[in-house]
């Protein structure tokens, strides 16, 4: 979904539901990663918009969106936070990944594949805020840094959020990831974290015009 560029004075969050259309992402039987990421994106968008935060999404349905298109949408939004949403049957809890690029000073033109390096310090700060909120919500969190094709090219503070099964629930991994209660709990925690990030970024009360 192509959104018009947002003015820089607004607090904007980009939600990138990874995969979609021809690209199912991870899959096992009838379970598809693309469905979980879209459901989480829709749920989180509703929560954020209800709190007055402008949200730009890279897709709103089961459509194929190329990586370059996702990057263009996010970079044109002048967002203060970009979350690339993923899901995996491996591991447990929530995995937060920041780019492994080394930080650099912001420049007028950033190389396409390493544009995130100018924002990595803020991305790590954003990871800290999300980590605190998720732990506060009682969720297991692991933090890491990795080369990620889409995140590495984003100019906003960006993280990949990977949802893995809640191993403490007693449900099967597929049931856990498809559990609306688990998704709602995660979306609530992420929304709370982004509100806190909004306050830290100095956008208190700067809702959409």
């Amino acid at each position: 979904m192509q959104a018009p560029p947002a003015p820089t004075s607004r607090f904007v969050v980009v939600l990138d539901a990874a995969h979609g259309g021809d690209d199912s992402g991870g899959h096992s039987g009838s379970w598809n990663e693309k469905s979980v990421t879209l459901a989480l994106s829709v749920r989180l968008r509703s929560l954020l918009e209800a709190r007055g935060i402008a949200v730009v999404t890279t897709r709103e349905s089961d459509t194929t969106v190329a990586s370059e298109q996702r990057i263009e949408i996010a970079d044109h939004a002048n967002a203060q936070a970009c979350l690339s949403l993923h899901a995996s049957l491996s591991g447990s809890g929530i995995h937060l990944f920041a780019s492994s690029l080394a930080p650099t000073e912001p420049a007028h033109f950033e190389p396409w594949r390493t544009a995130q390096s100018a924002s990595i310090t803020r991305s790590l700060a954003l990871a800290g805020v999300l980590n605190s909120a998720l732990l506060h919500a009682g969720m297991a969190v692991t933090l890491g840094r990795m080369a990620l094709p889409v995140v590495d090219s984003l100019t906003c503070p960006a993280l990949a959020v990977e949802v893995s099964p809640d191993r403490t629930s007693g449900e099967s991994p597929v049931d856990s990831l498809n559990d609306p209660g688990y998704q709602a709990h995660l979306a609530d925690a992420l929304a709370a974290a982004l509100l806190e990030w909004q306050a830290e970024e100095g956008h208190l009360g700067a809702g959409p015009s």
Partner: protein
């Protein structure tokens, strides 16, 4: 008017040509298959007569997203490339076991999950300066090119964490056993591929120095 015997002769020669062409095509295919099978059957297990040596595996652990050092005694071949491949095969064998800390079923394929490992000198801009300084113009650092088997990549679980742990444990294991390896690049079936199973970037060259810093790092 063409005599009948010439017509018959023509068709006989034509049939013979087609038959010979078919036989040649089959022989070519058979030889090609033999060649491919020969590549696949390159020994990855060291001969048992080789003395056992200490190898260090950096084993991924999904529980805490970490790499755990594990020392093993293995019979290893002398060639550095074969040696690197044998050590990585052992690492991926561990991931294929039932109680693996980082389960990757692809490691259990009947053929080796690693097709080849090539160790190459890293090209540096300071070759002339090194030569002028009386040093070996070749860089002391090495690039490892790890050619993964397509079956291993196809069966690898999808996910950022699981894919990154596999990639980083391979990089860390190579560096632990060959300290000169500073860079690692991945291929799948000899071709560059965008991701391992949809997430971990395989188009970039990984620096082993980054691996040590980033795993377990708290943002």
């Amino acid at each position: 008017m063409i005599p009948r015997y010439q017509t018959v002769l023509f068709f006989l020669l034509l049939a013979a040509s087609i038959l010979m062409g078919t036989i040649l095509w089959q022989l070519r295919n058979r030889e090609h298959q033999h060649l491919l099978q020969g590549e696949q059957s390159t020994p990855t297990q060291a001969p048992q007569v080789a003395p056992a040596e200490q190898a260090t595996l950096m084993v991924a652990n999904d529980a805490d997203d970490s790499l755990v050092t594990r020392a093993l005694s293995l019979p290893l071949p002398q060639s550095p490339n074969a040696r690197a491949r044998a050590i990585l095969d052992k690492l991926l064998d561990l991931y294929a076991t039932a109680d693996a800390s980082h389960p990757v079923p692809g490691g259990a394929s009947p053929t080796s999950p690693i097709d080849q490992v090539f160790l190459l000198p890293v090209r540096t801009a300071g070759i002339a300066a090194r030569r002028a300084a009386g040093k070996n113009p070749q860089s002391e650092s090495e690039l490892a090119v790890v050619n993964l088997a397509g079956a291993f990549a196809a069966n690898h679980p999808s996910g950022i964490e699981t894919e990154s742990l596999t990639v980083l444990s391979i990089c860390a294991t190579l560096h632990a056993n060959f300290p000169r390896i500073t860079e690692v690049h991945f291929l799948v079936d000899g071709q560059q591929r965008e991701t391992l199973a949809g997430h971990a970037d395989l188009t970039r060259t990984y620096l082993t120095s980054d691996v040590a810093v980033t795993r377990g790092a708290q943002p």
